[in-house]
């Protein structure tokens, strides 16, 4: 157990800046997940902590000890690799005990540590097998076991679940959560999968182009994304982004006009009022509505923000239904579908079919507003009411 500090870390590859000035404090015992699209620098950051990449400038320390120039194996970190990186010529037992053996531990101590790790991961009966005869999930367990055996100060995970199938992945997510609770260890986890970030993290670090976009607890980031990038990155399906223009601003509402919308969207202002500085009639903004931020089109009081559209795709998830709506004049941009369909999430079963006419309405109380630079200017009234209100 140890805390990790990163101060002003910069990593250049020639003229390419992989990491530009990242600072981060990870308190002891925290499970930090670093997410971002590919090329955002998350893996480089993790490999820098491990010592597999040299850093251009800055400082990485564990419990206050500067490890920036220390050899990888003296840093007190263990890493779990995406492709498991198990030694194919060694048995599971040898794989897990290798670090201790190299470090000069006695046979008894190595065996004790291996048994303990195997017990935690429930792979005691796999110890004499070679990695080749293990399934993907078992291999990943062994890779994690190899890290546990070393009792490191900090665990590093580099997209460890991306090679597993969906069912196994969600199982391993639970397993890793349990492991973190059981070991109480400091863990840094890199993934491009927002689900993994949302489900496992104590705190999420969203990276973009080598800088930290936002840091916070999963729901904090989900409900209060500082930027449109974070808003779009967390949550699946993505938040719907619609172009709009400011009509007027009064004391407690922002009135917006959007092409294809009958009435003006009256977005209530509660949070971050001063973020509207410089905004005036005619300013272009972007409205963000999560898939759960829609109500039925005929609900009293919401009719002005009604969208009449055609169902393009229906995804029945069992209890819930996801709809992709061709909103006619209302188009989502930067979305999962090229056609600009609106993603709509209903927490009930719907018997919708392709091509069917459907009316929904934006819930202005669930809308985010972003300025042209991508900064969030308006947060919804109470984001956690969204799930309840979406039914």
């Amino acid at each position: 157990m140890a805390s990790l500090q990163i101060r002003n870390l910069i990593k250049d590859y020639g003229s390419f800046k992989a990491i530009r000035d990242v600072s981060l404090e990870v308190p002891s015992g925290e499970f930090v997940v670093m997410v971002g699209p590919s090329g955002c620098g998350k893996s480089t950051l993790l490999r820098s902590i491990a010592g597999l990449e040299s850093i251009t400038s800055g400082e990485i320390s564990i419990d206050g000890r500067d490890i920036s120039k220390v050899e990888p194996f003296d840093r007190g970190v263990a890493m779990v690799f995406q492709n498991y990186a198990l030694y194919p010529h060694m048995t599971v037992r040898q794989n897990m005990g290798f670090a201790l053996k190299i470090g000069g531990a006695s046979k008894v101590d190595v065996e004790k540590a291996v048994q303990r790790a195997a017990g935690i991961l429930r792979i005691e009966n796999q110890l004499d097998k070679k990695p080749k005869s293990l399934s993907g999930g078992q291999k990943q367990r062994v890779a994690i076991g190899r890290a546990i055996t070393r009792s490191p100060d900090v665990f590093l995970f580099d997209e460890p679940l991306s090679n597993l199938d969906a069912a196994l992945r969600s199982q391993m997510r639970v397993e890793l959560g349990r492991l973190h609770a059981e070991l109480g260890a400091t863990m840094v986890y890199v993934t491009h999968d927002q689900t993994e970030a949302m489900t496992m993290a104590s705190r999420i670090v969203v990276l973009r182009d080598g800088i930290i976009e936002q840091v916070g607890a999963p729901l904090e980031l989900y409900n209060f994304p500082a930027t449109r990038f974070v808003a779009g990155f967390l949550g699946s399906p993505r938040m719907n982004f619609i172009k709009a223009t400011v009509h007027t601003i009064d004391n407690d509402h922002l009135h917006l006009e959007a092409a294809g919308l009958a009435g003006r969207l009256r977005v209530p202002l509660l949070h971050a009022d001063n973020a509207l500085d410089g905004m005036q009639s005619g300013t272009d903004v972007i409205v963000g509505v999560r898939p759960e931020g829609f109500v039925d089109g005929d609900v009293e009081g919401y009719r002005d923000w009604r969208i009449e559209g055609q169902v393009a795709v229906v995804e029945s998830l069992g209890r819930d239904t996801l709809l992709y709506l061709n909103g006619g004049g209302i188009k989502a941009f930067d979305s999962e579908s090229h056609e600009g369909y609106l993603a709509i999430h209903r927490t009930r079963q719907l018997q919708a079919v392709h091509g069917q006419q459907l009316q929904v309405a934006i819930d202005p109380g669930a809308a985010y507003v972003f300025d042209a630079s991508g900064k969030t200017c308006v947060f919804p009234l109470a984001p956690n009411h969204l799930l309840a209100g979406a039914a």
Partner: protein
Amino acid sequence: MGSRFRWVQVLLYGFVSLWSLFVLLPTAWMVIGAFKTKREFFLDPLGMPASFDFDAFERAWGTGVGGFLLNSMFVTALSVLVIVVVSAMAAYVLARTDNRWMRLVYLVIVAGFAVPVQAVIIPLFQMVSGAGMLNSLFAIVLPYAAYGIPFTIILFYAFFLDFPRELEEAALLDGCRPVKTFFHIVLPLMGPAVASAAIFQAVFIWNEFLLALLMLTKPAVKTLTVGILQLGGEFTSDWAAIMAGLSIAVLPILTVFILAQKYFVRSLAGLGK
């Protein structure tokens, strides 16, 4: 599948069959000849022997083929060992370095692969002679190693470029410095590459004639290829004994080759990467 494709197949198989016969018939003739009596050999050169007895083998063995065999085995084993160990370590460093000068070193080694042994045979002889190593087995082990290393480095270099880097990174985190990583992780996983290189070099060294003829003049140090030549001088009329000696020379390497031909093919296929 069209009939045209089938015709191409027939043609190809026909060609390969003819080629195989072209290679195998003399070999078969050699083995069969070794079982003939001297009389049979001259009366019916293409016929089968009346009985399969090992007299000719005994005569050949009696002239010291056993010694030549041991010399060849020693030379081949030692040369291959030196080639594999040196090449593996050199190729690993060359494949993992970022140093620009090392890339130049690699180019020089590749260039060394292109120098024909005949071109440098006189200076080579003088060097070996000057070192006082003539008529010692090291007189050919060292040049063989020197000639085998460039090719083997190229082979291993390609292997290391494909070697999963994560394994080395995992070893680094587990506490291995590069030397330990090489011996604990990389070397144990080099099996197929080593087998390819070893069989390729073994066949070449076992059959090498020119250098052995120049450097080894005393019977006690001769290898099989030059030893058999001596056999031809002694038994001008005993062709059966010569055939028996040749069979003894070919048999070990042929056996090894057949057992390991999979790796041999792979080593050549690996060059196309």
